[in-house]
């Protein structure tokens, strides 16, 4: 078995008087693409904040082997920085200036943002902004990528395109990924495993494995069955 990069044991989190996560166990291996789905308000984003180290568990433990970067639904970019400056911010600090400039150019190419290098976030479309987030997060060369409903604010077509781009970018530069989403299609098209969370306080209700290869289409064998199983767990069928 591959080494576990994230290990959650009996994880619990409470806001004063409100239990958000209760007794959650999960193990995520290096290179895994895990998608967490659950009812609205069940604590998916809180789980991601815990994984990112922005919140601390009130019960249980999280063992994290490596650094993480998070991509947010919207607003994770600094409006006063240009695309180029955002990517530069993501790079390791000890990089020589010439090497850093080369790396930035490379990421601008990968994310097709070269001609927008000197634009600020408010001058970009929603899809472009998410590509900047992706470039900044991946430029860091950290082990873990946390995605907090990154495509939820995008229109249908852009969302579908971004899924494909994410899958192809990760195929060349594998990372351990945890994606939280309410979008079941997104979950079954991108994830290696889908973790279905129960209503608040969230705990793991079921883990569903998906066929290999990404991104999958709705007609890929096993995808429709997985989607059906998720919907059943969520009480949607």
């Amino acid at each position: 078995m591959t080494e576990a990069v994230l290990e959650l044991r009996g994880l619990g989190f409470e806001h004063p008087g409100v239990a958000v996560i209760d007794d959650l166990d999960l193990e995520i291996a290096r290179g895994d693409f895990v998608v967490c789905v659950g009812p609205s308000g069940c604590g998916k984003s809180t789980l991601l904040a815990l994984l990112g180290g922005h919140l601390h568990p009130t019960r249980g433990t999280i063992a994290r082997r490596g650094h993480s970067r998070t991509i947010y639904q919207d607003g994770g970019l600094f409006p006063w920085l240009t695309v180029r400056q955002h990517i530069a911010q993501g790079l390791p600090r000890d990089l020589a200036p010439a090497r850093a400039a080369h790396k930035i150019d490379e990421w601008l190419e990968v994310t097709r943002l070269a001609e927008f290098a000197h634009h600020h976030p408010h001058q970009l479309s929603g899809g472009m902004r998410q590509r900047v987030e992706l470039a900044r997060a991946l430029a860091a060369e950290t082990d873990i990528l946390l995605l907090d409903e990154p495509f939820a604010a995008l229109d249908y077509q852009t969302r579908a395109r971004m899924r494909r781009e994410l899958a192809s970018t990760l195929a060349d530069r594998p990372r351990t990924v945890v994606l939280v989403t309410h979008d079941i299609d997104e979950a079954v098209q991108l994830g290696d495993r889908v973790v279905v969370l129960g209503p608040r306080p969230a705990s793991v209700r079921r883990i569903i494995d998906l066929p290999s290869g990404r991104p999958r289409s709705p007609t890929t064998p096993g995808v429709a069955d997985a989607a059906h199983a998720i919907m059943k767990e969520l009480g949607l069928t």
Partner: protein, 260 residues
């Protein structure tokens, strides 16, 4: 924007106010020529123009302008230097905010004019009391605006900064400060206008130079032409100061706050 459209916009922006100014001037001149004002209450435009020329020739107008700007610069700069750090602390610390905000609001609502007796008793006459009044008039405003701006910086920025491994100092200068800058520039723009109004009032009391003194001195000598001359200088410099701060909004790294 096409060159033709840009030209039309410039004409609109400069031409319309100039046209209104000319219309007001014509109305003033006509009313004076028709003898509509009792003698000695409203000067004729020609008298004001002559007063301007005299003041400019003797150098007194320039001296008064420099004296007023000097006081505003000191009072405003000290207020900015003291108020922004305080506002940043208040914006980020709930306990400090709860303790101090009511008092900042209390002093903010006190007119600087109410402080004049203390300003004279504590600082005597000359520049210090005027600078003190300008400081008071702007300090609480800027502190409050900075507090509100720092308190509304999206939490996600700090999460990103945490993941980027920024130190506390780097978070302050690379996240909090740039995030509040557009709101801060707007607050400074309002505050500089207040500072300019207050300096004129302060100079009517505790000093013997500056545009406020020019106006009150002219009134004492029943020189209404000079009073209007001083008023026009105050208004024109006020517009100039506002334009300087409005220009700050065009800096590339803050434009986002004005374009969204």
């Amino acid at each position: 924007m096409t060159r033709g459209r840009a030209g039309a916009m410039t004409l609109l922006r400069l031409g319309l106010p100039a046209a209104i100014g000319l219309a007001l001037l014509a109305a003033w001149w006509l009313a004076c020529a028709a003898g509509r004002f009792p003698a000695g209450t409203v000067p004729r435009p020609g008298d004001v123009l002559r007063a301007f020329a005299d003041q400019a020739r003797t150098g007194r107008l320039l001296e008064d302008v420099v004296a007023s700007l000097f006081r505003v610069a000191w009072g405003f700069a000290t207020a900015v230097v003291a108020a922004i750090p305080l506002g940043l602390v208040l914006g980020r610390s709930l306990a400090t905010r709860a303790a101090l905000l009511p008092w900042i609001n209390f002093f903010r609502n006190l007119s600087p004019i109410a402080w004049i007796p203390f300003a004279i008793v504590w600082f005597g006459i000359g520049d210090p009391p005027a600078i003190f009044l300008i400081f008071l008039a702007t300090f609480f405003q800027i502190a409050l605006a900075t507090t509100a701006a720092a308190g509304s910086v999206p939490r996600v920025y700090y999460r990103v900064a945490h993941e980027l491994g920024l130190s506390r100092g780097a978070v302050l200068f690379q996240v909090t400060f740039p995030a509040i800058l557009p709101q801060l520039i707007t607050a400074l723009r309002v505050a500089i206008g207040v500072a300019w109004m207050v300096v004129v009032a302060a100079e009517m009391i505790a000093v013997r130079s500056g545009l406020g003194f020019l106006i009150v001195d002219a009134r004492n000598g029943l020189r209404m032409d000079l009073v209007v001359c001083g008023m026009i200088a105050v208004g024109a410099i006020g517009i100039g100061l506002d334009l300087v701060f409005a220009r700050l909004a065009r800096i590339a790294s803050v434009r986002w706050g004005f374009e969204r």
